[in-house]
Symmetry: none
Subunit: 221 residues, 2 copies
DNA sequence: CTACGTGTGGCACCCCGGTACTAGGGCGAG
DNA sequence: CTCGCCCTAGTACCGGGGTGCCACACGTAG
């Protein structure tokens, strides 16, 4: 059972959400709020699984409320719902720590799917927004770090060893790396061992640290 | 009717996609390819609405193939399907111009929805990936720099756990940590275990990654 | 041709890392 | 005072990590 807090300044809109959600099983509306202040307070009180958050509200808006809710470190996740897909809203909401961003004209099943995804820790973005988001994201990324390749510590690594090292630095176990790269675990171990020996790492923990130090991996994600 | 090109080096996988998609209306599989080179060629020939693209393939991989397909300026959109949600794959695929990124264990209806969305120009990302993507995106954006200590993930850590975590992130073993902090190894293990549980790390490698991620330790410093 | 580097794979062995449980002492809040 | 949290410590267990060593295929530099 997923508990939900509805935040919207328009009573009619809140009613609409209720209509849609109360007919569904597995979700239960535990409260409502009509502005940001109230949203923060009620979230702290009720600690719902998911907060359905409107952005435009009198007083404290949804962005600021989202920021405070996520900053508090509670388990409630925020799913932002707006009428307009203005980019600035999307970015601001994401930076505020929102777990999702849907448009209010979403179909009930989309809304439900979104709520469920957010409740289990995943994230959702409305398909229409995803495209622009990805585009902006691709531009924001400067691209794989090439300066890393020139670091003396990595000089002696073969292409394969570098690749394996990158994956190690994402936190996967040898078995997982083997599956990911379609190799046997033995082979992975060999590569990892050789890579560690070359860069002077005693174990994979130090390998990861070195990988971060030389900028092999980007400290993001 | 949405035309589809299936690209995967494993015949069984291609067969699986056929099974799923041929039972659906509105989509039609117009061809297959088993590596990147062939994918580029067949896309040029057939100009399908959507290319279902595997990443890891012998010869030219799916990323490079995606890059060439989108660079060619055709109308075909690329939907990347991979078994593992390795971050670097996602980023690389996005930069290569992919319109979507799904996991192969997606349910048939999710796959269908993804294909339809991509076909009409929208984009899709698997929910499990969206979360990390948003997180990475929020970090890539300029914004109020929230530095280490206030990160929600660290909020629940006690002083001692934080201290131990910092030392873990320098690459010391439990025994070494015990010596430097004048504790028994058992105690160190307890702290490390608790810290990992709280921040959601499976092992100390992931703990180190998270430590770097939130800025607990200084990269390159 | 041979030799080497590289990527791949396998196997035996040991030990560290991580979990689960328990438990005592200190310390502040109710 | 009692409760709960934190720090401390221990034992037992086991799975994965890491090492060493071996083997084969392939391409290329010598």
């Amino acid at each position: 059972m997923t508990s939900i807090l509805i935040v919207d300044d328009q009573p009619l809109q809140r009613m609409g959400f209720r209509m849609v959600l109360e007919s569904e099983t597995g979700v239960s509306i535990v409260g409502e709020a009509e502005n940001g202040i109230e949203a923060v307070r009620r979230t702290a009180e009720l600690s719902p699984d998911v907060v359905l958050m409107d952005i435009r509200m009198p007083g404290m808006d949804g962005i600021e409320a989202t920021r405070r809710i996520t900053a508090s470190g509670g388990r409630s996740r925020v799913l932002v719902l707006t009428t307009f897909d203005l980019d600035e809203y999307v970015y601001a909401a994401l930076q505020a720590g929102a777990s999702g961003f849907l448009l209010k004209d979403a179909r009930p099943d989309e809304l439900l799917a979104g709520i469920r995804a957010v409740a289990v820790g995943d994230a959702v973005v409305a398909p229409a927004l995803t495209r622009r988001l990805l585009h902006a994201f691709a531009k924001a990324l400067p691209g794989p770090d090439r300066r890393a390749a020139e670091d003396p510590r990595l000089r002696t690594l073969t292409e394969r060893e570098l690749e394996v090292l990158r994956v190690v630095a994402t936190g996967l176990t040898n078995t997982e790396i083997a599956e990911t790269l379609h190799l046997s675990e033995s082979t992975v171990k060999t590569h990892v061992s050789r890579a560690m020996a070359k860069i002077g790492a005693r174990d994979r923990v130090q390998a990861v640290i070195i990988a971060y130090d030389v900028g092999l991996v980007d400290p993001r994600g």
